[in-house]
Amino acid sequence: MADEKKIGVYLCSGCGIGDAINVSATETAATKQKASFCKSHSALCSEEGVNLIKGDIASGETNSVVIGACSGRVMTDKFQFDGTNVVRSNLREQVVWSHPAGDEDTQMMADDNVRMGVTQARLGNLPTALAEGEFSDTLLIVGGGYVGMTAALEAAKSGHQAILVERSDSLGGMIKDWTRVNPDDAPYREPQDNPVPGLIETVKNNAKITIMTNTTVAKTDGMPGRFVVELAKGGTSSVETVGAIIVATGWRPYDANKLGHLGYGVSPDVVTNVELEAMFAAGPVKRKSNGSAPKQVAFVQCAGSRDPAHLPYCSSVCCSQSIKNALRLIEADPDVMCTIIFDELRTPGTAEEFYRSAQEKGVVFVKGKVATVDGNLTVTYHDDLLGDDIPMAGLDMVVLATGMVPNSTNTEGAAIELNPEQAVYSHDDINPAAPIQVAGYKDGVVAPAVQVRTQNEVPDGAPILNLQYRQGPHIPILADGFSDSHYICFPYETRRTGIYTCGPVRRPMDMGEAGLDAAGAVLKGIQAIHNVRHGRSLHPRVGDLSYPKFGLSQCTKCRRCTVECPFGAIDEQADGYPTLNASRCRRCGTCMGACPVRTISFDNYSVDMINQMAASCEIPDEFSGKARILILACENDAYPALDMSGINRHTYSAFVRIIPVRCLGSVSLLNVSEALSKGYDGVVLMGCKSGDDYQCHFVKGSALAKERMGKVSETLKSMMLEPERVQSMEIAISDSARVGKIIDDFAANIVKIGLNPFKGF
């Protein structure tokens, strides 16, 4: 901004603010902080209040606005003035609603919050977008099964061109030839016809969908809005530019050859659920041993699932599938006796109706764990409800319900050798040492032994997209092979922006869920296409125009930013300097927190800004007895939890000064050491949970912050300070009731340790 900055501060005295603090004293604090002026209003969010600000902007009195009122998380539409940078100072939720009215410390807190706001306004500018070049509206869909076809159709219905790539010679995928599938329509009680054959025709007849069979993705470069994709078919290849990519590569059955203890390979009449589907497709089911019709059939659930020696997880569909196949056998011949031996029958949602339907039709359900199936088809299981081992003899067929393995790579293609730095990105690297729990057992319950994680294992087979990213060709996956995504908030997201997984490659699911998944992923792809062309960020900072800028003159080519970016947004140029692929970036600032020389910053966010904001608070001298604790709170969970704490009128120490950060990943160690050297008595990093069940909205930010804080003790030691003065805390959005207590405990401990001797230096 070429014009001189004229910072206008507007204080609101509504919502109890004016009753709890002396607003005119806060006005004085603002003007002393060198704001151009400070005004107050009894209801700033009213039309009159908003017009007051609009008038000042129009008359040129201010071009940078600080609003001292409610939390920046609310009234965002009211306090948005096009072309003007707006900073929000939280006086309501985090000051007057969470601290005693009329108290000296409450007043000091309010004053400091406004001072920090003025500093933030001085150092921050309205961001300008980076959106150059051409963009494509086309979606690339990888995988021509039910999910991929559904995705292509959804894309076409939304007016987008879709390229549907299938590695085999025909559409249809895994279940193309299955005759009946689990019910997806009310009343959910009977097996249903397979919709796939009909879907294939619909997709073929849709002019917006380009079908490419016998095709794989040889290379993917570029970024959301303009991925450059090389498609290989036979010996030839073609290049397409697409706006977003949907990966629907589906699943394959777990290898039953590893299930010899369950009789597979021992008797021909022990078959898998997938083999049974083929037997149904071939006509009336016959025993493989002698061609006779089976009369006594047992279905063994969790065959190689939820088993530390095999798949540690539940595939969620096998129970319903066995129910379906038992019903089909009974339907074909009412004399067939079907027993389903389950450990825990998992028929979620409407599948419960299917389960009851099978019970009514005479399918026998037995709760037990199958230990062995021998060559005579005697199934020995431990019946938990009888507390006894039961040999079930006289069977003439045993069906093993094997689980789903995600096609996160193309097992038919050749693996690509990765450099060691890339290998870590093909696999979940959050905590490679943590063992994998077998699904479904809580603490205190005797669970099967945990599965040891193979550290940094590279999946077999070729990468699905062969990403030409500095961080490697694979879409990052979790330890169990499914693609990494924020399961709670952003299910379709992968750790590669603009690339969305759906269906069983993402997590085990049935057709009904997978169809919805396909539609959801396509909508995310369309959002990406429409946002990135305007330089707008995707989730969770949706619409953010700011992006990291590199001060290359100071860059030491240390590569930490390229290594630590959770989304592979930053590549290295040939000369070793980082280069940003802007639309891959999610604006978390993890690169900024990683940079040891503070040369990465955003127009409205920087390491220096955080330092200066912290420094603009008044630090009382050591004789006052008033500690000061800097809280750097993640804007995604911790900051809203603190707001909600205030909304619920929970109180906490008034010694804290809270600065919202984009992600704990954006916090530099320098922010911590600087605060301590300025006289803060303690520093708290409040962010999301890290680990396998991470809550971090930027996947790795909180884990990286934890790792960096592991090194802070050395810094503290060199400053002759106690390590307890710095702490990172995991606060979820649901922690509003207890966050106050956590803060108070920390504050009490700081007082116990004694105030920071650096005060006044």
Partner: protein, 204 residues
């Protein structure tokens, strides 16, 4: 042994669950059992049952025919219907227990002489078919002596005071038993019903 259910000699009989479903009154809902145990928990006599309804249902599924039919549980049932009204899956527990209990006696898993209920039921049925009505005095006496003469005298003397009280208040009468008038008609109906029931059992 009146082998109306399949493979009576097999310890684990896979088809037993299906047979119970198709042949025991209420058995078609036994499949709905989800093993919650509300039936056994609600049963006032469960402490005197060796298995209890929940376990019996699971053993039927496991095909443990012999162990099920040798259970004493059926004959402890007091027909309080707690299990019936409380079952979250609407399994008519009491009816299934009574059906299994009758089967166990019929097939010889339970010697009738050991099953008081079966002997009492026989005495009761004798009175019903003979007089059309239950004569409490005669049914009780017949039951007492169904376990042998000495046993009958012992039981009879043990309840003498009770019986005297009943007689004194004219609630037990000493003359000829009350009878339905058209007993021939009733006998014809019952004989036909027995015949139809046997026919259905033959079909199964």
């Amino acid at each position: 042994m009146n082998a109306i259910s399949p493979n009576p000699t097999q310890k684990y009989d896979l088809s037993f669950a299906r047979w119970v479903r198709d042949n025991i009154d209420g058995g078609e809902r036994m499949n709905m059992c989800m093993q919650c145990g509300v039936c056994s928990g609600s049963c006032p006599l469960s402490d005197q049952m060796d298995l209890g309804p929940r376990k019996i249902f699971q053993m039927v599924r496991a095909g443990m025919k012999e162990a099920v039919l040798k259970s004493n549980s059926f004959y402890q049932c007091v027909s309080c219907y707690n299990c019936v009204v409380r079952c979250p899956r609407q399994v008519p527990v009491k009816y299934i227990l009574h059906g299994l209990g009758r089967l166990a006696v019929q097939e010889g898993y339970q010697p009738k002489s050991n099953v008081e209920n079966a002997r009492f039921a026989d005495a009761f049925w004798w009175s019903v078919t003979t007089f059309g009505k239950t004569d409490e005095r005669l049914v009780t006496a017949k039951y007492y002596f169904s376990g042998g003469l000495m046993n009958g005298i012992k039981l009879g003397l043990g309840n003498l005071k009770t019986a005297l009280g009943m007689i004194k208040t004219k609630r037990m009468h000493l003359g000829a038993p009350h009878k339905a008038k058209n007993r021939g008609e009733l006998k014809a109906i019952l004989a036909k019903a027995v015949e139809i029931q046997a026919r259905h059992e033959g079909e199964a």
